[in-house]
């Protein structure tokens, strides 16, 4: 992501104090534990011109829940800070297609690839075909459509552990769909889905890899 943004002429900073957006805590029911992480996020990023996040579900967490969380904390300054910061927060592909209006980032990736639309990117952020348009512009790529592209891979954070059997069954459907495309790699805008899918593709010894959209747009060979 850093390479792509720099290639496009932007200056990238990485506030070292950043940790986690709090999604896992919040979505599992530990709202109280997520609150300080909201405050931390605001403190770390409030001065940025734009905050670019390589994970659609983290952005969904911020957009969907931060305003309400800030209201619950009841600090008017924090409220204002969240309201001021959120319009500057973008998921990576969204930043390219919607904020910068770019589709061709000058990448080359000569591989057969299929794209999985992560749920939060698809439904909460409304990324639509933005990521696919970015992929289509990549030189040498053989982009193949994933059947049932909009169906969840079964990760769901702690769901994968709490409901491991159901999650595994959902994942089996997803990997079967990926294998049916004959792709060498599956890509997405969310590392958590990719970690989940990658775990099963490796367990099943399929030889199919997962790569984050940013890795493809950075134009590097699958480095693993």
């Amino acid at each position: 992501m850093v390479r792509v943004l720099e290639r496009l002429g932007h200056t990238v900073e990485f506030p070292p104090g950043q940790t986690c957006c709090g999604q896992m805590h919040y979505n599992t029911g530990y709202q109280a534990e997520a609150m300080p992480l909201l405050e931390r996020f605001v403190a770390q990023f409030k001065d940025a011109e734009a905050v670019v996040v390589p994970s659609s579900s983290c952005v969904a967490m911020m957009r969907d829940h931060y305003p309400k969380m800030a209201r619950e904390i009841g600090d008017s300054k924090l409220n204002e800070a969240v309201d001021a910061l959120l319009p500057k927060v973008f998921e990576f592909s969204e930043f390219l297609t919607k904020r910068l209006g770019v589709e061709d980032v000058g990448a080359s990736y000569p591989h057969r690839v299929t794209y999985h639309a992560s749920c939060h990117g698809l439904r909460n952020l409304g990324l639509g075909d933005g990521p696919v348009r970015l992929l289509r512009a990549v030189k040498g790529i053989d982009l193949v459509e994933l059947p049932s592209v909009e169906v969840c891979c079964g990760f769901g954070g702690t769901f994968a552990v709490k409901n491991a059997d159901v999650s595994s069954a959902m994942l089996a459907d997803k990997t079967a769909a990926i294998l049916s495309t004959g792709a060498e790699a599956c890509t997405a805008c969310d590392n958590s889905c990719l970690m989940h899918i990658e775990g099963a593709l490796h367990r099943q010894k399929t030889g199919v890899k997962t790569v984050h959209l940013a890795e493809i747009l950075a134009g590097e060979e699958v480095a693993r």
Binding site: V2, F14, P16, G17, Q18, T19, C20, G22, M24, H25, Y26, N27, T28, G29, Y30, Q31, E33, A34, P36, L37, R40, D64, H65, C119, H120, R123, N124, E150, V151, C152, G154, F155, G156, G157, T158, F159, A160, V161, K162, N163, A164, D165, V166, S167, S168, A169, M170, L171, A172, D173, M195, H196, E198, G199, A200, H202, R203
Partner: protein, 481 residues
């Protein structure tokens, strides 16, 4: 487990019930096929509506407005229904509702009642209560009849026998209707059910129904269905008893213009239901001579009191969320241990139990949002799921026992790590040390202990990178590129 009612009070935890359910390959195949068919039909009839999103918003507004003024509209319904010759009863909970319906059924002088599908009567296990009082209930909706004769339980709000295929249904009919030669063509099955039910329709003097909508403005009651068996139940008996949750009321007759577009398209993928029955009180010239409506609370006012989950009551029971849910599609309905399965069941059931039971249901979701996307009245189910999870966590961590809750302890520890850059860096280093004995030569982890073992039952986990992004970033800064 067949035959026993779906009772959240005694149901196993969802992950356990789901594992058992998923062992039934035929059921999974049936559920997948049926939900695929309904979803395809729904997508087609929704796509032909240019104003679908506006309709959804109108539906949401009608439902929200109703819930915000529920007391007013319920009383308006009571007045108008009474004026038209109906008798309105109020039931605080399931027990009171059962008692009222049983007394009314017995007072009608019949030892048998015909029923048109009503999930609300399933919710309170009415059939068992009637049976105990010597009144036999005959289900007349085809799917409900299949469930009843098969001594099975409903697995879907709209298509309760969705988990059965034609061959299985034929087998039930052959056995219970004594028709050894019966074929399995849809016509054969429908003919058998028709013959069986016509006799009941013409003989039984008392009907019991649910309701899709109660119209406050007119005191009318609305039921939509596909078979006409409901129409028989509503018109042929001398006495009709309708059981409805208090959430079923709508303000005006005109509101049906919106809701009767949303409901059939979302539920069965039809532009309108084949049978739309609306009746208001009694008419001396036609239909039942006596008409009772039992308005049941059964924890609905508790849900109403919770601002964050109030929208649960907006549900019009179309089951689009069930058909779209990747969890339901794997497990079928029985795993939810409730007549309300799928995403709406995962939020409705624990709340109907006032959070005393079914606490595993809010976790029966990957929060993928497919339910919210198809909901015709825009219930943000993922948001309510998260809210209910918070309630469950508060219960689990309250008091002394909470101090020993493994998950809560882990969550608190992680939150502490995330609150400090130093601790976060240290945790990344420690993570590499901790995982090293579990990591194979190829850099992958194939087994994890304790709670995390759920992950490695079907997936491997790649070891943490030797160089984190942070390391890379800092090294890069030093090298000045």
């Amino acid at each position: 487990m067949s035959g026993t009612a779906l009772d959240p009070k005694t149901a196993p935890l969802f992950p356990i019930a789901a594992k058992i359910a998923m062992g039934d390959a035929q059921m999974r195949k049936n559920v997948r096929h049926a939900t695929d068919v309904i979803q395809t039909k729904r997508a087609r009839v929704v796509a032909e509506m240019p104003d679908w999103q506006q309709l959804r918003e109108a539906g949401r507004q009608i439902r929200q407005h109703t819930m915000e003024n529920l007391d007013f509209y319920l009383e308006e319904f009571e007045r108008n229904c009474t004026r038209a010759g109906g008798v309105v009863h109020w039931a605080r909970d399931a027990e009171e509702a059962r008692r009222i319906v049983v007394e009314l059924a017995k007072a009608s002088g019949s030892d048998e009642v015909i029923k048109i599908k009503s999930m609300t009567t399933e919710e309170i296990q009415l059939n068992q209560a009637l049976e105990a009082a010597g009144v036999h209930a005959v289900e007349t909706d085809l799917a409900e009849l299949i469930i009843q004769l098969g001594e099975d339980r409903p697995s879907h709000i709209v298509v309760p026998a969705l988990h059965k295929n034609r061959q299985e249904i034929r087998e039930i009919f052959q056995r219970k209707m004594n028709l050894p030669e019966l074929g399995d063509r849809p016509d054969d099955l429908a003919d058998a059910a028709r013959m069986y039910l016509r006799e009941k329709f013409l003989r039984v003097k008392t009907g019991v129904s649910g309701a899709n909508f109660l119209i406050a403005e007119t005191g009318g009651v609305c039921i939509v269905e596909s078979e006409g068996n409901g129409r028989m139940c509503l018109t042929l008996p001398e006495t009709l008893i309708t059981l409805a949750g208090i959430d079923k009321v709508v303000p005006r007759y005109q509101d049906l213009e919106v809701l009767l577009q949303l409901l059939p398209r979302s539920a069965t993928g039809e532009r309108m239901n084949p049978y739309n029955s609306i009746w208001t009180g009694v008419d001396v010239k036609d239909g039942p001579r006596t008409f009772h409506v039992v308005l049941m609370d059964n924890a609905r006012t508790e849900i109403l009191a919770d601002e964050e989950s109030r929208q649960t009551l907006n549900c019009i029971r179309c089951a689009a969320c069930q058909n779209a849910c990747p969890v339901y599609r794997q497990t079928g309905g029985h795993a939810y241990g409730s007549v309300y399965a799928g995403p709406i069941g995962a939020i409705l059931t624990p709340q109907l139990q006032e959070m005393h039971y079914a606490q595993s249901l809010p976790y029966a979701s990957s929060l993928c949002g497919a339910c919210y996307e198809v909901c015709p009245v825009k219930i943000n189910i993922p948001e309510v799921l998260i809210h209910l999870r918070n309630k469950v966590v508060k219960q689990n961590t309250a008091g002394v026992a909470g101090l020993f809750d493994v998950e809560a302890t882990a969550m608190k520890a992680m939150a502490m790590i995330f609150r400090s850059e130093k601790r976060f860096r240290a945790a990344q280093r420690l993570g590499r040390i901790a995982e090293s004995p579990l990591t194979g030569k190829d850099g992958w982890i194939g087994w994890l202990p304790g709670m995390l073992g759920g992950w490695t039952q079907a997936r491997d986990l790649k070891e943490m990178p030797k160089e984190t992004f942070r390391d890379w970033w800092e090294k890069r800064g030093k090298n000045g590129n």
